[in-house]
């Protein structure tokens, strides 16, 4: 047996042991999840109130009746989410760039950007939606939008831009100063260094936290319902309050999950990729 054959043999043995451990881990995980999840379901199903809960929250007939209307209304959530998300990415970037700018003359803008972040990140989103939605039309200025979908979208954009600006800013701050110095040394201007060297690295690095905010936004679109907009949550509320059956709300929750769970899986993968780099 040569030295290299011995190495190969040891490696194979290690691999086998690793696979065995992995299989055992999976078996233990499966059994323990079966016990825990099965136990929780059994606890719920055997509780004295279960028949009532089943009829009011998990009624198949109520689900069939309500789901098409809720799903139709959910389309509005999707459209709003896409438009608001695009606006948030742009506004957040502008605010982040202003906050990280160095020029002395830009101080007033930096101050404004800091105030923007403090205020819009500090106010509960539902309150912001309410204030913008009912406050702006009260000004009675011509030319301002009065459509609650637009006003609600503006409120959500303000709030999430404040969060996203801080995410971008942390990304920009995490790029080593040497990157900028190197870019300037090869003849790039400050702007070019930012555009071609710093931002591409910064945005890549903050991908997972950005996606995290996407998921939060996707759920918060439902807040626009307080302005009278009939989106999925409101449609489900309408049905459940007219029938006194909460199943429609469970249907709406499933729809949100249909979007947020795939997004979360993308996020997981991105996170793993990030570790590998």
């Amino acid at each position: 047996m040569t030295a290299s054959e011995a190495t190969l043999g040891r490696r194979a043995a290690r691999e086998t042991a690793k696979r065995r451990r992995a299989r055992r881990g999976q078996a233990i995980a499966a059994v323990s999840s079966l016990i825990v999840i099965g136990g929780l379901i059994a606890l719920a199903v055997t509780s004295p109130g279960w028949p009532t809960v089943r009829d009011t929250f998990f009624s198949w007939s109520a689900f069939k009746d309500s789901f098409p209307d809720v799903a139709k209304a959910f389309w509005l959530d999707i459209k709003m989410f896409c438009v608001i998300e695009a606006a948030v990415l742009v506004v957040g970037m502008v605010v982040a760039l202003v906050r990280t700018s160095q020029a002395a003359a830009l101080f007033p803008l930096r101050l404004l950007a800091a105030v923007f972040v403090d205020v819009f990140r500090g106010v509960p989103v539902i309150l912001l939606v309410y204030l913008v939605g009912f406050g702006i039309p009260a000004l009675e200025l011509s030319g301002l939008p009065s459509d609650p979908i637009i006003l609600g979208g503006v409120a959500l954009t303000l709030s999430y831009s404040a969060y996203v600006a801080e995410v971008y800013r942390s990304g920009i701050a995490s790029i080593h100063r040497g990157q900028r110095d190197a870019a300037l040394a090869i003849g790039l201007t400050e702007g070019q260094a930012l555009r071609h060297v710093i931002l591409p690295q910064a945005v890549r690095r903050v991908g997972p936290p950005l996606l995290n905010d996407f998921i939060a936004l996707q759920k918060d679109v439902a807040l626009v319902s307080i302005l009278g907009v009939v989106e999925a949550f409101r449609q489900a509320q309408i049905i459940s309050s007219s029938t006194f059956n909460y199943t429609a709300l469970v249907g709406a929750a499933l729809l949100y999950l249909c979007v947020t769970i795939p997004l979360s899986r993308v996020l997981d993968r991105w996170g793993i990729g990030g570790r590998r780099v």
Partner: protein, 287 residues
């Protein structure tokens, strides 16, 4: 290497969800019109939430003309007065009546209730009666359209004239059903959390008209929106009767119904209505 686990969990969760959904049987509607003798409806025989007392619920804010000054315990307003009249019929002194706040959206949640009965302009419908008990009705409400004076919606003579209007209603009211079935507007109605938001939307021209029950409409135009006018009234599909809400199968339901029936036959209910609800004789009927 841990990849198969999430898939396994997801499959299990899906299976559990399907099992739950598939397991739901049909609900049976039990009638709450059991007759009961007045002798059984006395404070010492009735099993109330707090023994010897009557716990009555309504939402907060409590709106006029059903409650005045957001204080149900002052006996003022149509529903406050009705609740005290019911209590009196059943042998409870006003001091034995406790008021608790019960948001409309949780009033029909399964599980034990924190009240004996709930008065909150709740319309009786067969679908709702599957999950809660309703007393005999104590009021029948017409729907009314309110619009800004001088607007095109204000000049509507028929329900068809309102087809192109953007209409605002309150969540959880039968007004939305009334709008969708009687007016069938081309724009989807806007649905707000509470009465105040509906009124704000009308004031700020976010909606052309609002639909609410007639007593509320009269109050809104008299107090909250002086620029508003009651365009007209129409009856909700199947009539819109309000009843007290009780837990499903509550032993008190027959007693509360009995008290309301007695209040009606003695003319007291009508007197309470005349005292607290504005008279709507001048609101034209829309067809």
């Amino acid at each position: 290497m841990t990849r198969p686990l999430p898939k396994f969990l997801a499959a299990m969760a899906t299976a559990a969800m399907l099992a739950i959904l598939a397991g739901c049987g049909s609900t049976t509607t039990s009638s709450s019109t059991n007759s009961v003798a007045a002798a059984d409806c006395t404070p010492d025989k009735m099993q109330t939430h707090t023994a010897g007392e009557l716990t009555v619920a309504t939402d907060k804010p409590a709106y006029p003309p059903y409650f005045l000054n957001n204080d149900p315990a002052n006996g003022k307003g149509f529903e406050s007065a009705t609740a005290y009249a019911i209590a009196n019929r059943l042998g409870y002194a006003p001091s034995d009546v406790n008021w608790v706040t019960e948001p409309f959206n949780s009033s029909y949640a399964p599980g034990p209730k924190d009240f004996d009965f709930d008065v909150n302009q709740i319309s009786i419908t067969p679908a709702r009666a599957q999950h809660v008990d309703f007393s005999a009705p104590y009021y029948t409400a017409n729907q009314a359209v309110v619009a800004a004076k001088g607007s095109s919606a204000a000049s509507a003579k028929t329900l068809a004239d309102l087809k192109d209007a953007t209409i605002g209603v309150q969540l959880g009211t039968t007004s939305l059903d009334a709008v969708n079935t009687q007016i069938q507007p081309s724009t989807q109605p806007k649905v707000f959390n509470d009465s105040n938001d509906v009124v704000t939307a009308l004031k700020e021209n976010q909606v052309d008209a609002i639909v609410t029950d007639l007593p509320t409409a009269l109050y809104i135009t008299a107090v909250q929106v002086p620029d508003g006018t009651v365009v007209g009234q129409f009856s909700a599909p199947g009539g819109d009767q309000w009843g007290a809400l009780l837990a499903k199968g509550s032993p008190l339901t027959p007693c509360v119904s009995l008290a309301i029936d007695e209040l009606r036959s003695s003319g007291e209910l009508q007197r309470i209505e005349t005292r607290w609800m504005s008279q709507a004789a001048n609101a034209p009927t829309l067809k």
